[in-house]
């Protein structure tokens, strides 16, 4: 049943598509901000994955009534993955903030946030340093 194979696992397919989109952006884009965007999409896909596995078929939102009279027949979804993801979201926000802060500093120091231009600037620095100090790697600068 191919349709079941796809629609039965819809959340996983979406997770995989989003995850790959994010990873692709991180790897393929040369702009540092775009890389952070990719990283965010990648992380969001994981949030989605966690939240979707917390769902119990036919379950309702895991919120107890105010009077705490809990009907044992009501099926609740599993709230634990959601709580975990709250933590992961906070981590994600912190990572994004730090990444963007680093980009601001990089822009201040190097004057660009394009990876190619940065690599070239860095090679220039290493070339200068190596000329000054002698380069035992036989002129290979890629490590820098």
């Amino acid at each position: 049943m191919t349709s079941d194979f796809f629609f039965g696992h819809l959340n996983y397919w979406l997770f995989i598509i989003l995850m790959m989109t994010g990873l692709y952006i991180v790897v393929a884009k040369g702009n540092l901000v775009k890389k952070i965007v990719g990283l965010n999409i990648f992380q969001t896909s994981v949030f989605m994955f966690y939240i979707s596995i917390g769902n119990v078929t036919g379950g309702t939102a895991p919120i107890f009534p105010l009077d705490m009279k809990i009907d044992p027949d009501v099926l609740y979804s599993n709230p634990l993955p959601h709580v975990l993801i709250l933590t992961a979201i906070v981590v994600g926000v912190a990572t994004t903030a730090l990444g963007l802060a680093l980009i601001v500093r990089i822009r201040e120091e190097f004057g660009t946030i394009e990876e190619d231009a940065l690599l070239e600037l860095e090679h220039e620095i290493s070339r200068k340093v190596n000329d000054q100090h002698g380069d035992a790697m036989g002129g290979r600068h890629s490590g820098d």
């Binding site: 991180v26 994981v46 966690y50 992961a88 981590v91 990572t95 730090l98 500093r105 860095e122 100090h133």
Partner: protein, 521 residues
């Protein structure tokens, strides 16, 4: 209702509050509380003493914990009194306590060095925040090691990682390339941590629990299915990025070279080691080594890459002209030895990994601290700048020689002990050719260490105007580490004792919830 019952239990715990019962969490909490306190108090004068006190306190606590569990017992601490598997459990056994002691010990020794080094390398207005970040990093590393909850590992991992990125970026004051190094590490580190958390998600999906002991039991009961295998793959790759396992190592050399010297010394000795510990914990405690997929992965993927790292990284190190970069590549090679120990899949191999983790930690801390002193003296750690320092700075250079010998694995130094155990582990498996390769790659270490010695002792020194003389605050920590290299090479009671008990514990597999958790359910 379970919730109400647990609240009563919590109150009972609080009424009989005893400091000694709370040691597992205190080792993590002390630096965690000190970190914001430093910022809130605001005074630059207070920052360092507070950081040092916090680090020393958690070092003492770790030592006390190790003494409690070195006989093979397990301490189970329930955070907030919530019983595992629902609550977060801190589970201290010999493996944990051993790594806790390494991390907090290194941090405590590096801090005095950091005070003098940071004063030279980082502008004064950042000092308070530096120590705060340093403590947060320490908190994260200790937390990763102490916790027995898989998701908690991720949270602490990110605490340590985020502060690590900041610490590395602080090197920008000297070399602006520190910024891009930190950015690269941020991208790779986040991908690694996210892979790890995907793995945890799969595990939760397959078992419905996050407690490591509980996970181990449920995976062992149910056997492996595809979800568990996927979890294993994601966790190994994610941690591999953090370990800087050979093909995933690209972030490491740049991060180590451009970070401030004190940060490099601290991170090189602790951060990758903690990641190795997590790998061990998951490969042996959570998953069972009996699973074919795991044996395949560890033997046929870990060992070839470990061997590659041992040779390729040592080879690259031999061609470097910058001491700090040379040491960074040598670190990659040494991580290869640790991965090899895991891949051997026997108790001796895991013992070797744990001992090497400790011995290499102290060795590299000494070497990077010495490199930092050279940088302050000569402006850089390039070979043509540090030429002939053996005569001008005899003490620092002698420490480099001692630690260098330990790096090679000369008998009588710490490095020898761990390589010896590793060779034994290989021979136990009947893989004599691996034993030969271990010795052969050590010869490469002879080459790069000899190059350093040659530069330091057999070349003329370029005299400079007003040379920097390292204060005792810097040389004493360096010598503590250098002497530790000799001490742990001659007296192996603590390291080998703790590591073999730890390896035994890891191989015994899951100790189960019942043994540790008294008031479980």
């Amino acid at each position: 209702m379970r919730w109400a019952g647990d609240t009563v239990a919590t109150e009972a715990v609080h009424t009989t509050f005893q400091m000694a019962d709370h040691l597992p969490v205190l080792s993590v909490l002390v630096p965690f509380i000190a970190a914001p306190l430093i910022v809130l108090l605001g005074g630059r004068a207070l920052a360092w003493p507070l950081a040092f006190l916090a680090s020393a306190a958690s070092c003492l606590i770790s030592f006390a914990l190790l003494m409690q569990v070195i006989d093979g017992s397990v301490i189970s601490y329930h955070l907030g009194g919530w019983a595992p598997p629902l609550g977060i459990e801190y589970r201290i056994d010999a493996a944990n306590a051993f790594v806790l002691l390494l991390v907090s010990g290194i941090s405590t020794v590096v801090l005095p060095y950091a005070k003098a080094s940071v004063a030279q390398e980082i502008p004064a207005k950042h000092h308070t925040l530096f120590y705060s970040c340093y403590l947060l990093c320490l908190t994260g590393l200790l937390g990763v090691v102490a916790t027995g909850d898989a998701f908690n590992v991720f949270v602490f991992l990110e605490i340590s990682s985020l502060s690590t990125y900041v610490l590395i970026a602080l090197g920008a004051h000297k070399d602006k390339r520190a910024l891009t190094a930190a950015y690269d590490y941020l991208i790779m580190g986040t991908i690694g941590a996210t892979f790890f958390v995907i793995g945890i998600g799969f595990l939760y999906m397959a078992t419905g629990t996050l407690n490591m002991a509980d996970l181990a039991e449920r995976i062992a009961d149910k056997g492996a299915n595809r979800t568990v295998k996927a979890a294993f793959a994601f966790i190994i790759v994610g941690m591999g990025l953090k370990v800087a396992m050979y093909p995933l190592h690209l972030w490491l050399p740049r991060a180590y070279v451009f970070a401030p010297s004190a940060v490099t010394a601290f991170l090189a000795a602790t951060a990758t080691k903690v990641a190795v510990y997590v790998m061990l914990r998951f490969a042996f405690s959570v998953f069972q080594p009996a699973f074919v997929f795991e044996v395949n992965t560890l033997e046929f993927i870990l060992i070839p890459f470990a061997l590659l790292a041992m040779f390729a990284a040592s080879f690259i190190a031999a061609f470097q002209s910058n001491l700090k970069r040379l040491l960074a590549y040598s670190s990659l090679a040494q991580i290869g030895y640790m991965m090899l120990g895991i891949g051997l899949l026997n108790e001796t191999g895991v013992t070797a990994t744990l001992v090497h983790l400790f011995n290499h930690g102290i060795t590299k801390a000494a070497l990077f601290m010495a490199a930092g002193i050279f940088i302050l003296r000569c402006g850089s750690s390039f070979f043509d700048d540090i030429r002939g320092l053996g005569k001008v700075m005899p003490w620092t250079s002698a420490a480099v020689v001692i630690a260098g010998l330990s790096l090679i694995g000369v008998p009588g130094t710490a490095g020898f002990v761990s390589k010896w155990v590793l060779v034994q582990g290989a021979l136990e498996r009947g893989w004599w050719w691996i034993a030969v390769l271990i010795v052969a790659s050590s010869l490469l270490a002879v080459i790069y260490v000899w190059r350093v010695v040659e530069v330091l002792y057999l070349a003329e020194h370029k005299a400079r105007a007003n040379p920097f003389n390292p204060p005792l605050m810097m040389t004493v920590p360096l010598w503590i580490m250098a002497l530790a290299c000799i001490f742990f090479g001659l007296n192996t009671d603590l390291t080998m004792g703790a590591a073999s008990v730890a390896a035994e514990g890891l191989f015994a597999g899951s100790t189960g919830l019942e043994t540790g958790a008294g008031d479980g359910h």
